[in-house]
Each structure stands twice: as C-alpha cells, then as structure tokens.
C-alpha cells in the first residue's frame, strides 16, 4: 500500500517516464514550473500616506541615506559577479547584492514620494521611474551614503570585513526602524531585517573562518580590518536629519544602536581571536561626511560606471 496520508497523489504510473528532479517542489502551480510560488509584495496593503510631524524634506533625505547605503553597497558587491573565489560564493554575494538593491529601490521610491523635489529633472516624456532617476541621474554630492560602502573592493577578506561592519550596524538600525510611524519605512525595515540577518551571519562566519584559517587568510583579514575600521564610526554617528526624524518617531538615531553593534562586533572579534582595532575615525571636511554628500573620489568613478548607460538614454525603455 502507498502512504494513504496524502491521498490526492495518484498511484505511481509504472509506465511514466522518469520525472524532473524538481517534481514535488512546485506546489500545484505548473505555470511557474522552474520557480517557487507565493511571492509577496513587501508593500501590499501598507498605508503609504506621509506621517504628520515630520518635514517632507527630512523624510526624503533620511530615506536617501538608508537607500544610498544599500545601493552603493549593492553595487560594490555586484562587482564580484564572475570573480568570486568560488561559484558558490559568487552566487552568495550576488544574492546579498540583490537583497540590498531591493531595499534601495523601495527606499528611493519612498524618498521621491515624500519630497518630489529630490528627484532629478528628466527630459519630457522620459519613462524613467523616480527611483531610477534617483539612482542613475544624481550627482555624487547628492548621494548620502556612508563612505564605508563606497571605497573600492579589495580582496575577498576586504569584502567580508566591510559586509560584517555594514550588516551589523544596518541590522541594529532596521530592527528599530520596524517600529517607525511611517508604515512604508516600517514595512521595508521588517523585510530588510530578515535579509540583513543573513548577510551578517554570512560575513561573521567568513570572518571567523579567515581569522582562524591560514596565516595568509588571517593576514589579509587583519589588513582589511585595519583599512576599513576608520570608516566604521560613520555608521553609528548621528546626522542632524537623523536626529530630527528620530525625534518625530519616523526614523532611528543610529547612535542609539551603537552599543549593541559594538557588542556584536566584540563577540565576533573574540571568537576569531582578533583584537579590536585602534585607529581614529576618518575625518570629514569641516564636519561634513558621507551623509552630507562628501565622498571619496572612488564614488564618482563608481557612479560613472553605474550610471553611464541610463544617462546616455534618458528616454530609453528597458
């Protein structure tokens, strides 16, 4: 007798051809034969009205900060495509880049909805949606990402260290942002928490592996940590805009998450037998840093490459 607990399955046909290895993975919807089903729109049913008590310009600027961190980090990760040490890592990094790109898209769209003035003007008739206009038609001074995410890629250890610092700080931020009075930000954060939890786990495991691996892997890891550490404090520094949106219950002051971020990093360092680096934060210019649009020249080169096709065809349909 076959198992009778799932009687909707017909008895196996002794004459049937050998099935696909994906049989049984598909649910009942054969139209998506190679894919999973039940995809969800993260903003389905979410109230998109702008909350009161916050200046639209502040909300837009804050969304740009969160979005640009994700967008620039995503682009740097995507530069690994076809170049990672192994095929499996190549896909893992691309997955993380896509998660962050998805967050950036929702946040850029939110910035444009909060304050249409942030969106660059495009020729009449351009089909470019606001989030694409923000990604591909802003100058570097209008980008509000921290400088940690924009510096050029180094070796794999460099990417692991950067992702650990970035994901640890962003996760603590998103966990708090999930309680935002702005329902869109809350929904984006709730979705992002699951994604960035995995990013942090990925980076933490590789940090430990490289630190406890060979002499060479440890040397590379420590060199990357030394190089990137001065950029880390910017992740948990408070910008005026962040202070105001936090006071309005819409955003999160990253300084309130700084202790938690530090504790997590200390745990990773301790498990890995790595000393917490010394080294002063990378200075801004007259107090201005990435959040104010002050960037390293690496960002302009990255943007030139990222934006060139979209800018060449402002009326293009893709």
């Amino acid at each position: 007798m076959p198992d009778t607990t799932h009687g909707s399955h017909p008895a196996p046909d002794p004459n049937a051809e050998h099935g696909s290895i994906f049989d049984g993975l598909l649910g009942s919807d054969a139209s998506q034969w190679a894919f999973g089903t039940d995809f969800e729109d993260p903003l389905a049913g979410v109230d998109t009205t702008i909350p009161d008590g916050v200046a639209p310009a502040d909300l837009a600027a804050y969304c740009l900060m969160l979005a640009d961190d994700a967008l620039v980090a995503s682009h740097r990760l995507s530069e690994w495509c076809s170049r990672a040490p192994d095929l499996e890592e190549d896909i893992a990094l691309a997955n993380i880049a896509l998660d962050l790109l998805g967050q950036a898209r929702l946040l850029l769209a939110r910035a444009a909805a909060a304050d249409p003035a942030v969106t660059p003007a495009l020729p009449a008739g351009s089909p470019v949606p606001p989030e694409d206009a923000l990604a591909f038609f802003r100058e570097q001074e209008a980008f509000r990402n921290v400088r940690l995410v924009e510096v050029p890629n180094g070796d794999f250890a460099h990417t692991v260290v950067r992702l650990l610092l970035f994901a640890t700080a962003r996760l603590a931020l998103l966990e708090r942002l999930a309680h935002s009075r702005d329902h869109v930000l809350a929904a984006v954060a709730a979705k992002g928490v699951k994604e960035v939890t995995y990013h942090r786990d990925y980076a933490g495991r590789w940090f430990l592996t490289l630190a406890r691996g060979t002499e060479e892997s440890r040397r590379r890891l420590l060199a990357a940590l030394q190089e990137l550490w001065p950029l880390y404090p910017e992740m948990t520094a408070t910008h005026d805009v962040e202070a105001r949106v936090a006071a309005a219950g819409v955003g999160v002051d990253p300084a309130t998450a700084a202790d938690e971020v530090d504790v997590v990093l200390e745990q990773v360092f301790a498990m890995s037998g790595v000393e917490r680096p010394e080294g002063a934060p990378l200075a801004g210019v007259r107090g201005r840093t990435g959040r104010d649009g002050l960037h390293t020249e690496a960002l302009s080169r990255m943007l030139a490459e990222m934006q060139v096709v979209a800018r060449a065809h402002p009326l293009g349909r893709w």
């Binding site: 999973g36 192994d86 896909i91």
Partner: protein, 101 residues
C-alpha cells in the same frame, strides 16, 4: 584569488543537496555543490538552490557518504519488478465512504 598557497587550494568536498518545497511532503534531490564543511554546505545550498522561493527545508550530505546502487546491477535489482503491475493497489474499487484516498 590566484596567489594563494597551493597547499590550501585543495578542492572542497562535494555535497548533495535535498530541498523540501513549501507544499512538498518530502525532500527532493536538487543538485550538488562544494563546501568546506557541513554548515557551509547548508548556507551554500540556501544561496544556490532556494533563490527562487523554492524551499522551506534543506538537507545536505557529503556525496562520498552516499552508497549507491551500481548501474551494472540494474537488471537483477530492478527488472524483476517491471512486469508486476499488480503491486499497485489499483485493482479494486474504493468505497465512497473511505476518506483520504
């Protein structure tokens, strides 16, 4: 990374990956991958084989731990069941009041 020491360039072991779909009842073999250890294999399987919302559970097993039947044994192992269609319970009518069939 082309300049690593040759001694650490050894190939990672091969793992076979089994995924259970959202409404699937059993884990199904979906492919294989390389990983340094069991935990990394689970992570790699998540990254490589569940990107399109396919799965809710993953099993991985070192490929060299699988004992497989040999193609040489195909006839003695499988041919004898080829003509015994009566082993399928399809030769009697199911009463209407029997549930879950």
């Amino acid at each position: 990374m082309t300049d690593e020491q040759p001694s650490v360039r050894a190939e990672w072991p091969l793992y076979e990956v089994f995924v259970r779909g959202k409404r699937g009842l059993n884990h199904v073999h979906v492919g294989s991958l390389h990983a340094a250890d069991d935990q990394m294999a689970v992570r790699h399987a998540r990254d490589v084989y569940t990107r399109r919302n396919e799965g809710v559970s993953i099993w991985v097993v070192r490929a060299d731990l699988i004992t497989a039947s040999s193609p040489d044994e195909k006839d003695p192992l499988f041919a004898p069941s080829g003509d015994k269609v009566y082993r399928h319970p399809t030769f009697y009518a199911i009463p209407a009041d029997v549930p879950h069939m």
